[in-house]
Protein backbone atom coordinates (compact mmCIF):
# COMPACT_ATOMS: atom_id res chain seq x y z
CA UNK A 1 0.00 0.00 0.00
CA UNK A 2 1.32 3.49 -0.83
CA UNK A 3 2.05 5.70 2.18
CA UNK A 4 -0.28 8.69 2.76
CA UNK A 5 2.62 11.11 2.73
CA UNK A 6 5.31 9.90 0.37
CA UNK A 7 9.01 10.52 0.86
CA UNK A 8 9.75 14.08 -0.11
CA UNK A 9 6.89 16.54 -0.25
CA UNK A 10 6.71 16.27 -4.02
CA UNK A 11 6.07 19.96 -4.67
CA UNK A 12 7.04 19.57 -8.32
CA UNK A 13 4.39 16.89 -8.85
CA UNK A 14 1.77 18.83 -6.88
CA UNK A 15 2.56 21.96 -8.86
CA UNK A 16 2.26 20.09 -12.16
CA UNK A 17 -1.16 18.72 -11.17
CA UNK A 18 -2.29 22.11 -9.86
CA UNK A 19 -1.30 23.92 -13.05
CA UNK A 20 -3.04 21.27 -15.10
CA UNK A 21 -6.19 21.54 -12.93
CA UNK A 22 -6.17 25.32 -13.31
CA UNK A 23 -5.96 25.06 -17.10
CA UNK A 24 -8.63 22.38 -17.19
CA UNK A 25 -11.02 24.29 -14.93
CA UNK A 26 -10.75 27.60 -16.73
CA UNK A 27 -11.76 25.77 -19.89
CA UNK A 28 -14.91 24.50 -18.16
CA UNK A 29 -18.19 25.91 -19.46
CA UNK A 30 -19.77 25.75 -16.01
CA UNK A 31 -17.03 28.01 -14.70
CA UNK A 32 -17.68 30.70 -17.30
CA UNK A 33 -21.45 30.49 -17.04
CA UNK A 34 -21.33 30.94 -13.26
CA UNK A 35 -18.71 33.68 -13.56
CA UNK A 36 -20.81 35.59 -16.09
CA UNK A 37 -23.88 35.18 -13.92
CA UNK A 38 -22.00 36.39 -10.83
CA UNK A 39 -20.71 39.41 -12.72
CA UNK A 40 -24.24 40.20 -13.93
CA UNK A 41 -25.62 39.89 -10.39
CA UNK A 42 -22.87 42.11 -8.93
CA UNK A 43 -23.71 44.75 -11.55
CA UNK A 44 -27.38 44.22 -10.76
CA UNK A 45 -26.68 45.08 -7.10
CA UNK A 46 -25.94 48.60 -8.38
CA UNK A 47 -29.40 48.69 -9.99
CA UNK A 48 -31.01 47.38 -6.80
CA UNK A 49 -29.31 50.13 -4.82
CA UNK A 50 -31.26 52.67 -6.87
CA UNK A 51 -34.45 51.35 -5.28
CA UNK A 52 -33.35 52.09 -1.74
CA UNK A 53 -33.56 55.19 0.40
CA UNK A 54 -30.46 56.16 2.32
CA UNK A 55 -27.13 54.38 2.16
CA UNK A 56 -26.75 52.89 -1.32
CA UNK A 57 -23.21 51.66 -0.83
CA UNK A 58 -24.36 49.51 2.10
CA UNK A 59 -26.92 47.78 -0.12
CA UNK A 60 -24.35 47.30 -2.91
CA UNK A 61 -21.81 45.80 -0.49
CA UNK A 62 -24.41 43.46 1.07
CA UNK A 63 -25.86 42.29 -2.23
CA UNK A 64 -22.57 42.20 -4.12
CA UNK A 65 -20.70 40.18 -1.49
CA UNK A 66 -23.65 37.81 -1.09
CA UNK A 67 -23.84 37.16 -4.84
CA UNK A 68 -20.08 36.69 -5.02
CA UNK A 69 -20.07 34.32 -2.04
CA UNK A 70 -23.03 32.25 -3.23
CA UNK A 71 -21.98 31.87 -6.86
CA UNK A 72 -18.31 31.20 -6.12
CA UNK A 73 -19.47 28.49 -3.70
CA UNK A 74 -21.60 27.05 -6.53
CA UNK A 75 -18.52 27.18 -8.77
CA UNK A 76 -16.47 25.38 -6.11
CA UNK A 77 -19.13 22.68 -5.79
CA UNK A 78 -19.82 22.16 -9.49
CA UNK A 79 -16.18 22.23 -10.56
CA UNK A 80 -14.90 20.47 -7.41
CA UNK A 81 -17.21 17.45 -7.56
CA UNK A 82 -15.98 16.40 -10.97
CA UNK A 83 -12.28 16.78 -10.34
CA UNK A 84 -11.56 13.23 -9.24
CA UNK A 85 -14.56 11.38 -10.60
CA UNK A 86 -14.06 12.52 -14.19
CA UNK A 87 -10.46 11.34 -14.15
CA UNK A 88 -11.64 7.92 -13.00
CA UNK A 89 -14.53 7.84 -15.46
CA UNK A 90 -12.36 8.83 -18.40
CA UNK A 91 -9.64 6.50 -17.12
CA UNK A 92 -7.10 9.30 -17.52
CA UNK A 93 -6.12 8.75 -13.89
CA UNK A 94 -4.21 5.60 -14.89
CA UNK A 95 -2.04 7.69 -17.11
CA UNK A 96 -1.41 10.23 -14.36
CA UNK A 97 -0.74 7.73 -11.58
CA UNK A 98 1.65 5.78 -13.77
CA UNK A 99 3.98 8.76 -13.41
CA UNK A 100 6.23 9.11 -10.30
CA UNK A 101 3.41 10.65 -8.30
CA UNK A 102 1.38 9.47 -5.32
CA UNK A 103 -2.40 9.66 -4.95
CA UNK A 104 -1.88 12.27 -2.22
CA UNK A 105 0.07 14.44 -4.67
CA UNK A 106 -2.78 14.08 -7.12
CA UNK A 107 -5.45 15.10 -4.60
CA UNK A 108 -3.53 18.02 -3.12
CA UNK A 109 -2.54 19.22 -6.59
CA UNK A 110 -6.18 19.10 -7.65
CA UNK A 111 -7.19 21.06 -4.57
CA UNK A 112 -4.55 23.76 -5.01
CA UNK A 113 -5.37 24.07 -8.71
CA UNK A 114 -9.05 24.58 -8.01
CA UNK A 115 -8.32 27.07 -5.24
CA UNK A 116 -6.20 29.05 -7.72
CA UNK A 117 -9.13 29.09 -10.17
CA UNK A 118 -11.47 30.24 -7.44
CA UNK A 119 -8.99 32.94 -6.36
CA UNK A 120 -8.93 34.30 -9.92
CA UNK A 121 -12.71 34.15 -10.09
CA UNK A 122 -13.08 35.89 -6.71
CA UNK A 123 -10.60 38.62 -7.60
CA UNK A 124 -12.38 39.35 -10.87
CA UNK A 125 -15.76 39.57 -9.10
CA UNK A 126 -14.48 41.79 -6.30
CA UNK A 127 -12.89 44.04 -8.91
CA UNK A 128 -16.31 44.42 -10.57
CA UNK A 129 -17.87 45.13 -7.17
CA UNK A 130 -15.16 47.73 -6.51
CA UNK A 131 -15.96 49.45 -9.82
CA UNK A 132 -19.70 49.51 -8.97
CA UNK A 133 -18.89 50.97 -5.54
CA UNK A 134 -16.59 53.59 -7.06
CA UNK A 135 -19.42 54.59 -9.42
CA UNK A 136 -21.72 55.02 -6.41
CA UNK A 137 -18.97 56.75 -4.40
CA UNK A 138 -19.05 54.10 -1.70
CA UNK A 139 -15.79 52.27 -2.24
CA UNK A 140 -14.05 50.76 0.78
CA UNK A 141 -10.90 48.64 0.87
CA UNK A 142 -12.64 46.42 3.39
CA UNK A 143 -14.44 44.55 0.59
CA UNK A 144 -11.11 42.83 -0.03
CA UNK A 145 -11.06 41.66 3.59
CA UNK A 146 -14.60 40.30 3.11
CA UNK A 147 -13.38 38.62 -0.10
CA UNK A 148 -10.57 37.04 1.93
CA UNK A 149 -13.17 35.55 4.27
CA UNK A 150 -15.22 34.32 1.30
CA UNK A 151 -12.03 32.63 0.12
CA UNK A 152 -11.71 30.88 3.49
CA UNK A 153 -15.26 29.58 3.09
CA UNK A 154 -14.41 28.43 -0.44
CA UNK A 155 -11.38 26.60 0.92
CA UNK A 156 -13.60 24.58 3.27
CA UNK A 157 -16.32 23.96 0.65
CA UNK A 158 -13.77 22.89 -1.97
CA UNK A 159 -12.15 20.50 0.50
CA UNK A 160 -15.59 19.02 1.27
CA UNK A 161 -16.36 18.71 -2.47
CA UNK A 162 -13.00 17.05 -3.10
CA UNK A 163 -13.53 14.68 -0.18
CA UNK A 164 -16.87 13.50 -1.54
CA UNK A 165 -15.58 13.50 -5.10
CA UNK A 166 -12.90 11.02 -4.05
CA UNK A 167 -15.56 8.77 -2.48
CA UNK A 168 -18.64 8.86 -4.66
CA UNK A 169 -20.31 10.00 -7.89
CA UNK A 170 -20.69 13.69 -8.89
CA UNK A 171 -24.43 13.84 -8.16
CA UNK A 172 -24.05 12.39 -4.67
CA UNK A 173 -20.97 14.59 -4.10
CA UNK A 174 -22.93 17.69 -5.10
CA UNK A 175 -25.80 16.74 -2.77
CA UNK A 176 -23.47 15.99 0.15
CA UNK A 177 -21.41 19.14 -0.36
CA UNK A 178 -24.61 21.18 -0.69
CA UNK A 179 -25.89 19.59 2.51
CA UNK A 180 -22.66 20.50 4.32
CA UNK A 181 -22.98 24.05 3.00
CA UNK A 182 -26.54 24.32 4.40
CA UNK A 183 -25.50 22.72 7.70
CA UNK A 184 -22.50 25.05 7.88
CA UNK A 185 -24.79 28.04 7.63
CA UNK A 186 -27.59 26.75 9.86
CA UNK A 187 -25.64 25.03 12.66
CA UNK A 188 -25.80 28.35 14.50
CA UNK A 189 -29.42 27.49 15.32
CA UNK A 190 -28.55 24.27 17.14
CA UNK A 191 -27.79 25.68 20.62
CA UNK A 192 -30.80 28.00 20.74
CA UNK A 193 -33.44 26.15 18.76
CA UNK A 194 -32.72 22.43 18.69
CA UNK A 195 -30.81 21.51 21.87
CA UNK A 196 -33.40 22.96 24.33
CA UNK A 197 -36.10 20.83 22.65
CA UNK A 198 -34.19 17.55 22.92
CA UNK A 199 -34.85 14.97 25.63
CA UNK A 200 -32.00 13.32 27.46
CA UNK A 201 -28.69 14.72 28.60
CA UNK A 202 -26.69 12.34 26.38
CA UNK A 203 -28.57 13.36 23.23
CA UNK A 204 -28.10 17.00 24.10
CA UNK A 205 -24.38 16.41 24.66
CA UNK A 206 -24.03 14.60 21.33
CA UNK A 207 -25.74 17.43 19.45
CA UNK A 208 -23.62 19.96 21.33
CA UNK A 209 -20.43 18.13 20.32
CA UNK A 210 -21.72 17.95 16.74
CA UNK A 211 -22.38 21.68 16.80
CA UNK A 212 -18.73 22.32 17.61
CA UNK A 213 -17.43 19.75 15.14
CA UNK A 214 -19.51 20.65 12.08
CA UNK A 215 -18.08 23.40 9.87
CA UNK A 216 -19.47 26.74 11.06
CA UNK A 217 -19.42 28.77 7.85
CA UNK A 218 -21.19 31.71 9.48
CA UNK A 219 -17.94 32.40 11.31
CA UNK A 220 -16.38 33.17 7.95
CA UNK A 221 -18.99 35.74 6.94
CA UNK A 222 -17.94 39.31 7.76
CA UNK A 223 -20.23 41.15 5.33
CA UNK A 224 -21.99 43.12 8.06
CA UNK A 225 -18.71 44.33 9.60
CA UNK A 226 -17.58 45.50 6.16
CA UNK A 227 -20.93 47.10 5.29
CA UNK A 228 -20.93 49.10 8.53
CA UNK A 229 -17.19 49.82 8.50
CA UNK A 230 -16.73 48.06 11.84
CA UNK A 231 -13.21 47.01 12.85
CA UNK A 232 -12.18 43.36 12.66
CA UNK A 233 -10.26 41.98 15.61
CA UNK A 234 -6.86 40.70 14.34
CA UNK A 235 -7.14 37.83 16.82
CA UNK A 236 -10.44 36.81 15.23
CA UNK A 237 -8.92 36.94 11.75
CA UNK A 238 -5.96 34.77 12.82
CA UNK A 239 -8.20 32.21 14.51
CA UNK A 240 -10.56 32.12 11.51
CA UNK A 241 -7.62 31.39 9.18
CA UNK A 242 -6.40 28.69 11.58
CA UNK A 243 -9.90 27.19 11.86
CA UNK A 244 -10.12 27.00 8.05
CA UNK A 245 -6.62 25.54 7.72
CA UNK A 246 -7.31 22.81 10.28
CA UNK A 247 -10.61 21.95 8.58
CA UNK A 248 -9.01 21.80 5.14
CA UNK A 249 -6.11 19.65 6.33
CA UNK A 250 -8.57 17.35 8.12
CA UNK A 251 -10.75 16.91 5.02
CA UNK A 252 -7.81 16.46 2.65
CA UNK A 253 -6.27 13.91 5.01
CA UNK A 254 -9.60 12.04 5.08
CA UNK A 255 -9.82 12.24 1.30
CA UNK A 256 -6.24 10.94 0.93
CA UNK A 257 -6.90 8.07 3.34
CA UNK A 258 -10.01 6.98 1.43
CA UNK A 259 -8.57 7.62 -2.01
CA UNK A 260 -5.39 5.60 -1.44
CA UNK A 261 -7.52 2.56 -0.56
CA UNK A 262 -9.95 3.09 -3.39
CA UNK A 263 -10.02 0.54 -6.14
CA UNK A 264 -9.85 2.57 -9.34
CA UNK A 265 -10.62 -0.28 -11.72
Amino acid sequence: MTPIIPRGLGWIQIRAIAVNTFRESVRSRVFYILMAFTAAMVLFSGVMALLTIGSRSKIIIDLGLTFISFFTVLTAIFVGIGLIYQEIEKKTIYNILSKPLSRMHFLVGRYIGLMAVLAANLLAMVAILAVVLILFEGFTWKIFIAAGFIYLELAVITAIALFFSSVTSPVVSALCTGAFYVVGHTSIALPDMLIPRLNGAVTKKIVEVLYHLLPDLNLLNVTDQVAYGLPLDPGFVTKAVLYTAVYVVLLLTGACLIFRRRDLV
Binding site: M48, L51, T52, G54, K58, T186, N221, T223, D224, Y228
Partner: protein
Protein backbone atom coordinates in the same frame (compact mmCIF):
# COMPACT_ATOMS: atom_id res chain seq x y z
CA UNK B 1 -46.34 31.92 -48.47
CA UNK B 2 -49.62 30.61 -47.19
CA UNK B 3 -47.80 28.56 -44.56
CA UNK B 4 -45.85 31.62 -43.34
CA UNK B 5 -49.05 33.66 -43.10
CA UNK B 6 -50.66 30.82 -41.16
CA UNK B 7 -47.77 30.73 -38.66
CA UNK B 8 -47.78 34.51 -38.30
CA UNK B 9 -51.52 34.43 -37.68
CA UNK B 10 -51.10 31.72 -35.05
CA UNK B 11 -48.25 33.61 -33.33
CA UNK B 12 -50.31 36.84 -33.37
CA UNK B 13 -53.24 35.06 -31.73
CA UNK B 14 -50.97 33.59 -29.07
CA UNK B 15 -49.33 36.97 -28.39
CA UNK B 16 -52.78 38.58 -28.10
CA UNK B 17 -53.81 35.81 -25.68
CA UNK B 18 -50.66 36.36 -23.60
CA UNK B 19 -51.32 40.11 -23.55
CA UNK B 20 -54.96 39.70 -22.49
CA UNK B 21 -54.16 37.12 -19.84
CA UNK B 22 -51.36 39.25 -18.43
CA UNK B 23 -53.63 42.29 -18.11
CA UNK B 24 -56.28 40.16 -16.40
CA UNK B 25 -53.88 38.37 -14.06
CA UNK B 26 -52.09 41.58 -13.11
CA UNK B 27 -55.35 43.30 -12.12
CA UNK B 28 -56.37 40.19 -10.17
CA UNK B 29 -53.06 40.19 -8.27
CA UNK B 30 -53.14 43.92 -7.54
CA UNK B 31 -56.74 44.00 -6.40
CA UNK B 32 -57.07 40.70 -4.56
CA UNK B 33 -53.76 39.06 -3.78
CA UNK B 34 -51.27 41.88 -3.53
CA UNK B 35 -52.50 43.32 -0.22
CA UNK B 36 -52.06 39.96 1.52
CA UNK B 37 -48.58 39.08 0.33
CA UNK B 38 -46.72 40.07 3.47
CA UNK B 39 -48.98 37.76 5.47
CA UNK B 40 -46.75 34.89 4.35
CA UNK B 41 -43.55 36.36 5.71
CA UNK B 42 -41.95 33.88 8.16
CA UNK B 43 -40.88 35.11 11.58
CA UNK B 44 -37.43 36.44 12.47
CA UNK B 45 -36.11 33.30 14.16
CA UNK B 46 -36.92 31.19 11.12
CA UNK B 47 -35.54 33.78 8.72
CA UNK B 48 -32.26 33.96 10.66
CA UNK B 49 -31.69 30.26 10.05
CA UNK B 50 -33.18 30.11 6.55
CA UNK B 51 -31.05 33.01 5.34
CA UNK B 52 -28.05 30.62 5.30
CA UNK B 53 -25.79 33.23 6.81
CA UNK B 54 -26.80 35.93 4.35
CA UNK B 55 -28.90 37.86 6.87
CA UNK B 56 -27.93 41.27 5.56
CA UNK B 57 -28.85 40.22 2.05
CA UNK B 58 -32.36 39.10 3.01
CA UNK B 59 -32.83 42.12 5.25
CA UNK B 60 -31.91 44.37 2.32
CA UNK B 61 -34.21 42.53 -0.06
CA UNK B 62 -37.10 42.80 2.39
CA UNK B 63 -36.30 46.44 3.01
CA UNK B 64 -36.33 47.23 -0.72
CA UNK B 65 -39.60 45.33 -1.02
CA UNK B 66 -41.00 47.18 2.00
CA UNK B 67 -40.28 50.54 0.37
CA UNK B 68 -42.17 49.53 -2.77
CA UNK B 69 -45.00 47.75 -0.90
CA UNK B 70 -45.88 50.43 1.65
CA UNK B 71 -45.58 53.10 -1.01
CA UNK B 72 -48.59 51.56 -2.72
CA UNK B 73 -51.42 53.74 -1.48
CA UNK B 74 -54.25 51.69 -3.00
CA UNK B 75 -53.92 48.95 -0.40
CA UNK B 76 -56.36 49.53 2.39
CA UNK B 77 -54.78 47.08 4.79
CA UNK B 78 -51.18 47.96 4.10
CA UNK B 79 -50.44 48.71 7.75
CA UNK B 80 -51.66 45.34 9.03
CA UNK B 81 -48.29 43.62 8.70
CA UNK B 82 -46.00 46.62 8.97
CA UNK B 83 -44.89 45.73 12.48
CA UNK B 84 -44.10 42.13 11.57
CA UNK B 85 -42.25 43.10 8.39
CA UNK B 86 -40.32 45.73 10.28
CA UNK B 87 -39.34 43.29 13.03
CA UNK B 88 -38.10 40.69 10.57
CA UNK B 89 -35.96 43.26 8.73
CA UNK B 90 -34.47 44.76 11.87
CA UNK B 91 -33.91 41.39 13.54
CA UNK B 92 -32.00 40.19 10.49
CA UNK B 93 -29.93 43.37 10.24
CA UNK B 94 -30.23 45.34 13.49
CA UNK B 95 -27.55 47.91 12.61
CA UNK B 96 -29.13 49.31 9.44
CA UNK B 97 -30.53 52.77 10.22
CA UNK B 98 -32.85 53.20 7.24
CA UNK B 99 -35.42 50.47 8.05
CA UNK B 100 -36.12 52.18 11.39
CA UNK B 101 -36.48 55.55 9.70
CA UNK B 102 -38.61 54.26 6.82
CA UNK B 103 -40.68 52.03 9.11
CA UNK B 104 -41.42 55.06 11.28
CA UNK B 105 -42.34 57.05 8.18
CA UNK B 106 -44.82 54.41 7.01
CA UNK B 107 -46.28 54.12 10.51
CA UNK B 108 -46.58 57.92 10.62
CA UNK B 109 -48.47 57.93 7.31
CA UNK B 110 -50.96 55.59 8.95
CA UNK B 111 -50.94 57.72 12.13
CA UNK B 112 -49.79 54.68 14.10
CA UNK B 113 -47.88 56.62 16.73
CA UNK B 114 -47.30 53.57 18.91
CA UNK B 115 -45.48 51.94 15.99
CA UNK B 116 -43.50 55.08 15.18
CA UNK B 117 -42.01 55.21 18.68
CA UNK B 118 -41.65 51.44 19.00
CA UNK B 119 -39.51 51.46 15.85
CA UNK B 120 -37.47 54.40 17.10
CA UNK B 121 -36.91 52.74 20.49
CA UNK B 122 -35.77 49.51 18.87
CA UNK B 123 -33.41 51.40 16.58
CA UNK B 124 -31.95 53.39 19.44
CA UNK B 125 -31.38 50.20 21.41
CA UNK B 126 -29.80 48.31 18.52
CA UNK B 127 -27.60 51.19 17.32
CA UNK B 128 -26.34 52.78 20.55
CA UNK B 129 -24.37 55.57 18.85
CA UNK B 130 -27.14 56.61 16.45
CA UNK B 131 -28.65 60.05 17.03
CA UNK B 132 -30.59 60.48 13.80
CA UNK B 133 -33.32 57.97 14.76
CA UNK B 134 -33.91 59.91 18.00
CA UNK B 135 -34.01 63.20 16.10
CA UNK B 136 -36.41 61.72 13.56
CA UNK B 137 -38.78 60.37 16.25
CA UNK B 138 -38.57 63.70 18.08
CA UNK B 139 -39.65 65.54 14.94
CA UNK B 140 -42.69 63.27 14.54
CA UNK B 141 -43.64 63.94 18.14
CA UNK B 142 -43.03 67.69 17.87
CA UNK B 143 -44.49 68.51 14.48
CA UNK B 144 -47.05 65.81 13.76
CA UNK B 145 -48.35 64.30 16.98
CA UNK B 146 -47.69 67.48 19.00
CA UNK B 147 -46.63 65.31 21.91
CA UNK B 148 -44.10 67.71 23.37
CA UNK B 149 -42.86 65.70 26.37
CA UNK B 150 -42.14 62.81 24.00
CA UNK B 151 -40.41 65.15 21.54
CA UNK B 152 -38.20 66.48 24.35
CA UNK B 153 -37.46 62.87 25.42
CA UNK B 154 -36.16 61.94 21.95
CA UNK B 155 -34.30 65.21 21.42
CA UNK B 156 -32.54 64.67 24.74
CA UNK B 157 -31.38 61.24 23.54
CA UNK B 158 -30.21 62.77 20.25
CA UNK B 159 -28.38 65.49 22.15
CA UNK B 160 -26.68 63.00 24.49
CA UNK B 161 -25.43 61.05 21.49
CA UNK B 162 -24.46 64.08 19.41
CA UNK B 163 -23.75 66.96 21.81
CA UNK B 164 -22.00 69.12 19.20
CA UNK B 165 -24.99 69.41 16.88
CA UNK B 166 -25.93 73.08 16.94
CA UNK B 167 -29.12 72.61 14.96
CA UNK B 168 -30.34 70.18 17.63
CA UNK B 169 -30.04 73.01 20.21
CA UNK B 170 -32.51 75.04 18.14
CA UNK B 171 -34.98 72.16 17.93
CA UNK B 172 -34.57 71.37 21.62
CA UNK B 173 -35.08 75.01 22.57
CA UNK B 174 -38.27 75.20 20.52
CA UNK B 175 -39.64 71.89 21.84
CA UNK B 176 -39.03 72.96 25.44
CA UNK B 177 -40.67 76.35 24.86
CA UNK B 178 -43.77 74.77 23.30
CA UNK B 179 -43.87 72.25 26.13
CA UNK B 180 -43.83 75.13 28.60
CA UNK B 181 -40.38 74.49 30.11
CA UNK B 182 -39.42 78.09 29.47
CA UNK B 183 -36.36 78.39 31.71
CA UNK B 184 -34.88 75.21 30.23
CA UNK B 185 -35.65 76.52 26.75
CA UNK B 186 -33.93 79.81 27.57
CA UNK B 187 -30.86 77.91 28.73
CA UNK B 188 -30.64 76.21 25.32
CA UNK B 189 -30.88 79.50 23.45
CA UNK B 190 -28.22 81.00 25.68
CA UNK B 191 -25.95 78.02 25.13
CA UNK B 192 -26.46 78.33 21.38
CA UNK B 193 -25.72 82.05 21.54
CA UNK B 194 -22.53 81.47 23.56
CA UNK B 195 -21.42 78.90 21.03
CA UNK B 196 -21.70 81.21 18.00
CA UNK B 197 -21.42 84.74 19.39
CA UNK B 198 -17.79 85.24 18.33
CA UNK B 199 -18.07 83.53 14.95
CA UNK B 200 -18.75 85.41 11.75
CA UNK B 201 -19.51 82.81 9.09
CA UNK B 202 -22.92 82.66 7.42
CA UNK B 203 -24.13 79.63 9.38
CA UNK B 204 -23.04 81.06 12.74
CA UNK B 205 -24.66 84.40 11.94
CA UNK B 206 -27.91 82.61 11.23
CA UNK B 207 -27.66 80.60 14.45
CA UNK B 208 -26.85 83.74 16.42
CA UNK B 209 -29.91 85.47 14.95
CA UNK B 210 -32.04 82.47 15.80
CA UNK B 211 -30.69 82.31 19.36
CA UNK B 212 -31.29 86.03 20.00
CA UNK B 213 -34.75 85.97 18.41
CA UNK B 214 -35.78 82.97 20.50
CA UNK B 215 -34.27 84.39 23.68
CA UNK B 216 -36.41 87.47 22.95
CA UNK B 217 -39.58 85.42 22.44
CA UNK B 218 -38.90 83.14 25.41
CA UNK B 219 -38.27 86.13 27.67
CA UNK B 220 -41.69 87.51 26.69
CA UNK B 221 -43.29 84.08 27.28
CA UNK B 222 -41.72 83.87 30.75
CA UNK B 223 -43.03 87.35 31.65
CA UNK B 224 -46.48 86.53 30.24
CA UNK B 225 -46.55 83.35 32.30
CA UNK B 226 -45.47 85.15 35.51
CA UNK B 227 -48.00 87.92 34.97
CA UNK B 228 -50.67 85.30 34.23
CA UNK B 229 -49.95 83.55 37.57
CA UNK B 230 -50.03 86.89 39.41
CA UNK B 231 -53.32 87.89 37.71
CA UNK B 232 -54.89 84.55 38.65
CA UNK B 233 -53.89 85.07 42.27
CA UNK B 234 -55.22 88.66 42.16
CA UNK B 235 -58.57 87.36 40.85
CA UNK B 236 -58.78 84.90 43.72
CA UNK B 237 -58.27 87.70 46.19
CA UNK B 238 -60.54 90.28 44.47
CA UNK B 239 -63.66 88.34 43.57
CA UNK B 240 -62.70 87.61 39.96
CA UNK B 241 -61.84 91.14 38.93
CA UNK B 242 -58.65 91.82 36.93
CA UNK B 243 -55.94 94.12 38.28
CA UNK B 244 -56.16 97.65 36.81
CA UNK B 245 -52.40 97.78 36.04
CA UNK B 246 -49.17 95.89 36.47
CA UNK B 247 -48.19 98.27 39.26
CA UNK B 248 -51.23 97.05 41.19
CA UNK B 249 -49.78 93.53 41.09
CA UNK B 250 -46.48 94.86 42.40
CA UNK B 251 -48.17 96.76 45.25
CA UNK B 252 -50.10 93.61 46.12
CA UNK B 253 -46.77 91.76 46.39
CA UNK B 254 -47.62 89.39 43.53
CA UNK B 255 -44.79 90.60 41.28
CA UNK B 256 -41.29 91.73 42.38
CA UNK B 257 -41.50 94.64 39.91
CA UNK B 258 -43.26 95.68 36.71
CA UNK B 259 -41.58 93.56 34.02
CA UNK B 260 -39.97 95.17 30.97
CA UNK B 261 -39.86 93.55 27.54
CA UNK B 262 -36.50 92.41 26.02
CA UNK B 263 -36.04 95.86 24.46
CA UNK B 264 -36.33 97.43 27.90
CA UNK B 265 -39.76 98.93 27.19
CA UNK B 266 -42.82 98.47 29.46
CA UNK B 267 -45.26 95.77 28.36
CA UNK B 268 -48.71 96.82 27.15
CA UNK B 269 -51.20 95.59 29.70
CA UNK B 270 -54.78 94.62 28.78
CA UNK B 271 -56.85 95.06 32.00
CA UNK B 272 -59.88 93.24 30.56
CA UNK B 273 -57.94 90.06 29.74
CA UNK B 274 -55.26 90.47 32.37
CA UNK B 275 -52.54 89.82 29.80
CA UNK B 276 -49.43 91.61 28.58
CA UNK B 277 -47.88 91.98 25.14
CA UNK B 278 -44.81 93.60 23.69
CA UNK B 279 -44.85 95.85 20.67
CA UNK B 280 -41.10 96.33 20.51
CA UNK B 281 -39.78 95.01 17.20
CA UNK B 282 -36.96 92.48 17.18
CA UNK B 283 -34.04 93.89 15.21
CA UNK B 284 -33.21 90.82 13.17
CA UNK B 285 -30.65 92.56 10.97
CA UNK B 286 -28.37 93.64 13.80
CA UNK B 287 -28.78 90.25 15.53
CA UNK B 288 -27.81 88.25 12.47
CA UNK B 289 -25.02 90.58 11.33
CA UNK B 290 -23.51 90.50 7.87
CA UNK B 291 -24.23 87.63 5.45
Amino acid sequence: MRTICGWLFLISIMLAAVFGLHVDLRSHIEEELYPYRSFFLPDSEYMKVASLGYRNFWADMLFLWQIQYYDYYRKENRYDYLERTFHVITDLDPKHQEPYVMGALFAFLGERWDLVYMMADKGLENIPDNHFIAYDAGMYALVSEKNYPRAVHYFRIAEERNPDDTFLKIIMGKALRIQGSLEQSMAYWQELYERVKDKNDQQSNLYRGSALRNMWLTRIKIDQRDVGIAVAEWRKRHEGTSPPSLDALVWEGLLPGAPLDPAGEPYLYDPDEGTIRSESPFDFKSAVGSW
